[in-house]
């Protein structure tokens, strides 16, 4: 027996949930099939050690698009909000920043950073308009495409002549040049560099790392928060919104393949052999997995196959979870500041040097690390008096030379703990359990090819009009009935919901036409 739906969404990642909810709100009968037990995809909270829970992949909320929040009536309860970033120094003279304010640096840097932040947020606002809309196609002559392009041109001009020039100059260059020109403080340089390359296979000297920095600021100007109950709580709220709108969500239902009949999508088949019919299949999976594994190249054309096959998506960020029997001591850090975001990035060269070995398939001997202690404000995540530490560690290349064997993982875990230990000497003695998720683990657990959290490198040749690939950047794939709604589509990764929302809008508009 088969069930017929107006649309089937593959994957209950946050984008899949946003997309399904918006489709259902428009009256569509929607089914979401999730491979894992929990909804949320990479926005999920799970136990990694008895009594200790953590946001298993994404752990900070800063990109959720206000429009998504509004249209779905989301009001996530936050454990922390407007967290400051504390760039750790071994001598305890840390640098702290939040919004456009920075402390612990010279007066010159205070002014420079304020100006920098003002300028960057202005550019990010411009960018954000286009993150929330389907990118226009070039050369179609269609009104909607032309209108979007005209608006983009107009918005650029409206920056004013000098600012427009600056924007166009900056969009392709690297963050390293900017931070060295603007700031004196090595810690500030290091942390801003790190912000720009988080989650990418890029170093501060790599091209277009200003663009990735702007991308980070786009939705909320870099304001950091953590939902009560971790990222999984947000996913649950999204799933609830979807269910309220009428979406059927089924977990533990890995889709094995997209069924193609007579050159168009006809439904999906699960690993368990169940078949669900729908003339619209929306994939929240990454483009490579969607096309190469779920659909199969035989059902699409050669040029498209080649482009999809060549999408760069090798993850380079690992996730380290530590169960602690108490807070570690960090010199110069007030206790209350464990509720903030702690960063190890001594300077811009430190970040670049961490990246260097990753180019050759080796992990960083001195990694850059972003740490949070979510249990500090959300005590339910750990037993009373104990804590969990959630870290993003770079760089840990997906294709590690020799593979991510247990020995390699243990060695890298040790490296990370030693690196943090330079700032928190008693850390090691406080650890009761640890878990390292390398990009290979992220690939396995969250079904993301290459374990790349953006579902494809965030680079100018894979951005906007050409994301995921040229001629297929409007959510609609060159196979009738197949759409993308995940981070691999425009605009990209981060828990923003933009891709899911844009995809839903596109599908509804197309079906209405």
């Amino acid at each position: 027996m088969t069930d017929r739906y107006d649309a089937i969404v593959i994957g209950a990642g946050h984008n899949g949930l946003v997309c399904s909810a918006l489709l259902a709100k428009a009256g569509k009968k929607v089914l979401v099939l999730e491979a894992n037990e929990q909804v949320g995809g990479a926005a999920v909270t799970r136990e990694f050690e008895e009594g200790y829970s953590v946001s298993a992949c994404a752990h900070l909320l800063y990109q959720l698009q206000p429009r998504v929040r509004k249209e779905l009536g989301l009001s996530p309860k936050l454990a922390s909000d407007t967290m400051q970033t504390i760039v750790l120094s071994q001598d305890g003279k840390h640098v702290r920043y939040s919004g456009g304010d920075v402390k612990g640096v010279g007066d010159g840097d205070v002014t420079s950073y304020r100006q920098f932040h003002r300028q960057m947020t202005r550019f990010a606002d411009l960018l954000n308009t286009y993150l929330n809309t389907t990118p226009p196609r070039l050369g179609t002559g269609e009104f909607r495409d032309l209108a979007t392009l005209a608006r983009l041109g107009f918005d650029l001009r409206r920056l004013g002549r000098d600012e427009m020039r600056t924007f166009l100059r900056l969009i392709g260059i690297n963050i390293h040049d900017e931070v060295t020109e603007r700031f004196e403080s090595p810690l500030l340089r290091g942390a801003v560099s790190f912000d720009a390359v988080l989650g990418t296979h890029l170093g501060p000297r790599s091209p277009n790392t200003i663009m990735t920095y702007l991308y980070r600021l786009a939705a909320g100007h870099g304001r950091l928060a953590v939902p009560q109950g971790g990222m999984g709580a947000l996913a649950e709220e999204l799933a609830q919104a979807a269910r309220t709108a009428g979406v059927t969500i089924r977990t533990n239902m890995p889709v094995q393949r997209v069924v193609v009949e007579n050159g168009r999508v006809a439904g999906v088949e699960t690993a368990g052999g169940e078949r669900f019919d729908s003339l619209i299949v929306v994939s929240n999976a990454d483009p490579k997995r969607t096309i190469m594994e779920l659909v199969g190249s035989r059902y699409v054309e050669t040029g498209f196959t080649r482009r999809v096959n060549n999408i760069r998506m090798r993850g380079n960020a690992a996730k380290l979870h530590l169960a602690l029997d108490g807070l570690p001591r960090i010199g110069g850090l007030a206790k209350v500041e464990f509720g903030d975001r702690l960063v190890i990035a001594a300077d811009e060269h430190y970040v670049e040097r961490a990246f260097n070995p990753a180019k050759y398939g080796e992990s960083s001997p001195e990694p850059v690390i972003e740490m949070t202690v979510p249990s500090f404000r959300d005590t339910a995540l750990a037993p009373t008096g104990k804590h969990v530490m959630s870290c993003v560690v770079q760089y840990a290349p997906y294709a590690l030379k020799g593979g991510w064997t247990d020995a390699a993982k243990q060695a890298f875990t040790k490296t990370c703990i030693e690196t943090i230990g330079r700032y928190a000497p008693d850390l090691e003695s406080r650890i009761t359990a640890s878990e390292l998720l390398t990009p290979a683990d992220i690939e396995r657990e969250f079904h993301i090819t290459g374990g790349h959290w953006h579902h494809g490198e965030l680079a100018l040749d894979q951005f906007m009009f050409v994301r995921p690939v040229c001629s297929a950047a409007q959510y609609r794939m060159p196979l009738d009935g197949l759409y993308l709604c995940g981070a691999g589509a425009h605009p990209g990764g981060g828990v923003s919901g933009a891709a899911g929302r844009n995809a839903a809008k596109f599908i509804l508009r197309e079906r209405a036409a």
Partner: protein, 397 residues
């Protein structure tokens, strides 16, 4: 795909010694790395051998790929625009392949040698495109250009010569059929294919058998005027047959820089090769859209008044030459048809079969150039299509 070391400089085909022995002009050029003759004694005589007796053409330099593996059929079916499921083992398909935009990359022939085993022959090399087309499919692609020696044996007496040579069962071979025979202790593949639009065959074997094959062939053909031919004679014959050639009548899509310089199969008169009943093939989406909204160009075969070949001529809709609608891509005086013929490309809606167009012909007499507007009728059928081409069994002349 296996990569092979090849010697530097112009390569010699396995038939080189035999061609060189017959050569009187020393007029050679390079064809895909091989040295081949424009003509051996006289292009006109060689042309008449194709039409009146038999011409033998060394087509070893033709690019040849072997396609095998469990997904071979899926692979070729997605690659080309026609339905390859209909091409059974022992059959050959003329086919055209396009990029995703529905623009022609090249045309060629696909031999279904044995169940699930194909040979793709084309003028251009396509390793990159063929390998890209193999992504996600279980097929193996091997360039076997240098591993197969091939001869085209074309003309009214070709059947008689090959029969006399001792190839059995040839009489049953239909046009676009192929068969494997044991000949003089080696394997020989014979296909009833060619580029002349006449009765003719192509012979395929391992290079070490090449000279022996040649000698048998010429011994059998001596009394019916068999002649080795060069590329000039073949070029003449293919225009009469109305066959298009890459870089002459169309530009392979991968070779273009400017937009609008490519052609779709619909714009090359190859609609009959495009099977929209197939759910997926490279270019299908774009071609379906083109079929819906109309093509920009149309391929035309022209019968032009006078006897001056209209090389590189502009084509006009009117005699005054006010409305330029296209240009001639191939032109020749056809001795066998007694017609001044040309192939060309014109903007739609011009050039419907039966319509009259005007061709601006330039010609030179004693250094001085003259120009005339010649009336040209658009014809539907090939200029040269003798009955013997499709007769099975052919006459033993």
């Amino acid at each position: 795909m296996s990569v092979q070391e090849v010697p530097q400089g112009r390569l010699r085909t396995p038939f080189y010694s035999r061609l060189a022995a017959l050569d009187t002009l020393n007029n050679w050029h390079t064809w895909k790395g091989y040295t081949v003759p424009d003509a051996l004694y006289c292009a006109d005589t060689e042309y008449f051998a194709i039409r009146n007796s038999t011409g033998v053409f060394d087509l070893t330099p033709m690019t040849k790929y072997r396609i095998t593996g469990p997904d071979a059929l899926v692979y070729v079916d997605r690659l080309v625009t026609r339905d390859m499921r209909k091409i059974r083992p022992g059959r050959v398909a003329y086919a055209v392949w396009c990029n995703d935009q529905g623009q022609v990359i090249d045309d060629g022939t696909i031999f279904h040698l044995r169940e699930g085993e194909y040979r793709l022959c084309s003028q251009e090399r396509h390793a990159a495109w063929l390998m890209d087309s193999a992504i996600g499919l279980d097929v193996s692609i091997t360039d076997e250009t240098a591993d197969v020696a091939a001869l085209a044996v074309q003309g009214p007496t070709s059947f008689a010569i090959l029969s006399r040579m001792g190839i059995e069962g040839l009489g049953d071979l239909k046009p676009f059929g192929l068969m494997h025979v044991e000949f003089d202790g080696f394997e020989l593949t014979v296909s009833r294919t060619g580029f002349t639009g006449d009765l003719g065959y192509e012979l395929w074997t391992a290079p070490e058998n090449a000279e022996s094959l040649w000698d048998y062939l010429f011994a059998a053909g001596e009394i019916t005027g068999i002649r080795a031919i060069g590329t000039d004679a073949l070029e003449h014959a293919r225009i009469e047959a109305g066959y298009i050639a890459a870089y002459i009548d169309f530009l392979p899509a991968h070779a273009t820089m400017r937009t609008g310089r490519t052609r779709s199969p619909l714009e090359l008169g190859l609609d009959w090769l495009v099977d929209f009943k197939k759910p997926n093939f490279n270019g299908r989406r774009a071609l379906a859209e083109e079929k819906r909204s109309g093509s920009t160009w149309r391929f035309v075969k022209l019968d032009i008044e006078g006897n001056k070949p209209a090389h590189h001529a502009y084509i006009f809709a009117d005699q005054k030459g006010k409305k330029n609608i296209g240009f001639v891509t191939s032109a020749a005086w056809s001795p066998v048809c007694k017609q001044n013929i040309a192939l060309g490309t014109v903007r739609t809606p011009h050039g419907a079969p039966g319509s009259t167009l005007w061709v601006e012909v330039f010609y030179q007499r004693e250094m001085h150039w003259s120009r005339m507007m010649a009336r040209a009728e658009v014809v539907d059928k090939p200029f040269w299509f003798p009955k013997r081409r499709s007769l099975t069994p052919p006459d033993l002349v």
